[in-house]
Amino acid sequence: MGRSAAALSDGKLKRTTAASPKRPRRRRAFSRSDRFTLGVFVGVPTAIHLLLVWIPATLTIYLSFTYWTGINYSDITWAGLANYDNIFTKTPLFYDAVRNNVIWLVWFALISTPAGVLLAYQIDRQIRGHRFYQSAYYFPVVLSLAVTGIIWNFMLRSDGFINGLIGRDISNAVSFFGNYDINIYVIMVIASWRHVGYIMLLYLAGLKAVDPTLREAAAIDGATEWETFRKVVLPAMRPVNIIIVVITIIESLRAFDIIYVIYGTSAGLPILGVLVFQNIAGEGASMKGAAYAVILFVLSIGPIIAYLRQQFREDVS
């Protein structure tokens, strides 16, 4: 019996090899149970993904062209472009929000992200106390954005810690959150507190993977520190760089948590994420919120596609 089984499998093997000498693996037919297993492993996540991501997303896009209070399906009425027209031509808050999101993006791109990269580079060079810096800067990343917001709210509100420290009470407090000329920058400092550590960590992981002999070779050729970084390290880090750029863009666009914790749904600091929520949540939801969500989606999709392509390329290689 053992022999016949061996012979059988032998023959099968031969047949397969004979049929496709070049790429034997690809052409191998899956058995029924393999197909079932694969079907389950691919099918279930796909179904869940469709159910939880694509169906709601598609419905949101549909709803953005309707009027609806969010309760009875029979009340949905077609509105055409009315919600978008309303947002683009009649809602000054939308432009305030776009302005704030743009400031957020520019700040992250020009200040927070470079700062994170610089820190990562310094820590990678093992400057004195680098372990301490690494932990200190990484610490905020452990906290969720909501917790970050709560902490800084305690620090900066009118009856908060900082105002207490500089001897001001609630009647003459420095208005960190209520001064609409500066509050976006206050928020940027708070958001950066976390973002810098996040970028630092990602970049540090990338730097550790750069072959040290590259640097040594550059040093032997007489390159300065800056030249080494710019011409040797940076190009070697290309995949990480792209991820960092994309993360910076996405984090700026999807900003919500910190603002919501500090301002609630009031428009103290309008950003797109809050406008979506403000119009959808609460009583008498309006599909203007869905339209805001679609606008945000369109703005985010570019960076997301770039991000995913990079991810897949890495997975393949």
């Binding site: 009027y67 209070t69 969010g70 309760i71 009875n72 009425t77 509105a79 009315a82 027209d85 309303n86 009649k90 809602t91 000054p92 808050l93 509100r157 009118s158 009856d159 009470d169 609630i170 009647s171 003459n172 407090a173 208005s175 960190f176 959150f177 209520g178 001064n179 609409y180 301002y263 609630g264 749904t265 009031s266 428009a267 103290g268 309008p270 929520f277 403000q278 119009n279 949540a281 609460g282 009583e283 008498g284 939801a285 309006s286 599909m287 203007k288």
Partner: protein
């Protein structure tokens, strides 16, 4: 209520509370309550109750109500508390999901909207049982657009100018002498010259300033204009609306600098800590003063907002009614109704009053002779008004009040000179609202 009024949108129904009926109600005796004390109870099984607050005083009150109900009927009640803003933001989803059987909510448009959507339990038979403990005006405020009742009132409070009596005494100000705008401005000047904030204000939450808009509009342009504006029958671009902001701007120099950095309780702290001399607010915060100390509570005083236009005297007031509803999607509708019958009955009201947390109940059974000085004054403030409104965010469409008026008033605080631009934008955003 005339048929003509019936035709207008739901937002108006809450307004028909009229002064005389409310006073008769509040001043009535407890007789009716005693007769009906037997109602409520029965075998309805365990139920859940959703509180729209996590604050100390109201929680104490509601827990006492729940305990009294449990002791009386033997039905267990699960008490779920949610912070009020979070509760409001989530209400649509909450009512469509698995809500508590009974929950805390507000009268007027905000109740009617959800009743229209079929998410609230019809409480008409509860009103049949306990209705005669309430004046007609409360019944009207509890009635949906279909003529059925969906709401059990708990308490009311007036919006007015709040002071600390001790501070007024020190400043030599007689609150009864502040009748009109000139008196008021003189008082503010006096406070400012003493280094005090005259008019404590807050608007970080986006709703606080609506109270100031309401009362200024009612004083300058009268009740009818205000109601019509809320319902969209008058325009925000009307010169009369702009006039409101002219007066409001006169108040700005007397306000704290951090209006947009404070929520309502920040403004309250200014008064509590004697940094500010006066504050426009609803009297609900008495409980917060009492948490501080009895002396602080007893120091509180309220007068109506001053007269501006002699034609309208001081005839209108924001006096919102808070209370309870039962959720249709709750697991135990009968339980919810049974609990609300108890909550609305004098027996339940008494359980809340016995906690010592100040409350001006909607129930006739709360003898006004048991009112403390501050509550008696609240009643007097109400008595002067002929028309009662709820509050801007309860009197106009919810998709207009929160997302549109709130931010507009905040941007006005940032730059009062922008008033015309802001009003034009408000009107065009009203015009762009989806048809109801």
């Amino acid at each position: 209520m005339t048929t003509d009024q019936n035709k207008v949108r739901g937002a108006d129904v809450g307004y028909t509370l009229n002064r005389r009926e409310l006073l008769i109600g509040a001043a009535g005796v407890a007789g009716a309550g005693a007769l009906l004390a037997a109602c409520g109870g029965g075998e309805v099984g365990p139920l859940t109750f959703g509180a729209r607050t996590v604050d100390e005083s109201p929680t104490k009150q509601l827990k006492a109500l729940v305990a009294a109900y449990e002791a009386k009927t033997g039905n267990t009640v699960t008490y779920n508390a949610t912070e009020s803003n979070a509760f409001q933001n989530n209400l649509s989803q909450y009512l469509q999901g698995t809500p508590d059987d009974a929950f805390q909510w507000m009268a007027g448009y905000r109740m009617q909207f959800f009743a229209e959507q079929g998410l609230l339990v019809d409480l008409t038979d509860v009103w049949d049982k306990i209705g005669d403990q309430y004046s007609e005006s409360y019944k009207i405020a509890s009635t949906g657009l279909d003529g059925k009742q969906y709401f059990i009132p708990q308490s009311w409070y007036p919006w007015g100018m709040h002071f600390r009596k001790s501070m007024l005494a020190e400043l030599g100000i007689d609150p009864d002498g502040i009748y009109n705008w000139d008196d008021f401005m003189k008082m503010l000047d006096g406070m400012k010259s003493k280094g005090l904030i005259g008019f404590a204000a807050a608007d970080k939450g986006g709703w606080e300033a609506m109270g100031t808009f309401d009362i200024l509009n009612a004083r300058i342009n009268g009740y009818q204009f205000h109601v019509d504006l809320m319902a969209g029958r008058e325009k925000w671009t009307d010169a009369r609306t702009a006039e409101v902001f002219k007066y409001w701007e006169m108040l700005v120099p007397y306000m704290n600098d951090n209006v947009l950095d404070l929520e309502w309780d920040g403004a309250m702290q200014l008064l509590l800590q004697k940094k500010a001399g006066a504050m426009l607010m609803g009297s609900w915060f008495g409980g917060n003063f009492k948490e501080q100390s009895d002396a602080d509570y007893e120091d509180l005083w309220i007068i109506p907002f001053p007269e501006i236009n002699p034609e309208h005297k001081r005839d209108t007031i924001d006096a919102p009614i808070d209370g309870f509803c039962a959720a249709k999607n709750g697991a135990n509708n009968d339980g919810g109704k049974d609990f609300l019958a108890f909550a609305g009955d004098m027996e339940g009201v008494q359980a809340m009053l016995d906690t010592g947390v100040p409350m001006t109940s909607a129930n006739k059974g709360q003898d006004t002779s048991t009112y403390d000085a501050f509550q008696t004054q609240q009643l007097a403030v109400m008595a002067e008004a002929k028309y009662i409104t709820q509050f801007l965010d309860r009197d106009t469409r919810p998709d207009f009040a929160g997302p549109i008026v709130g931010p507009a008033l905040q941007s006005w605080f940032k730059n009062p000179k922008d008033v015309n631009k802001i009003l034009e934008s408000l009107q065009s955003q009203w015009d762009a609202l989806p048809p109801l």
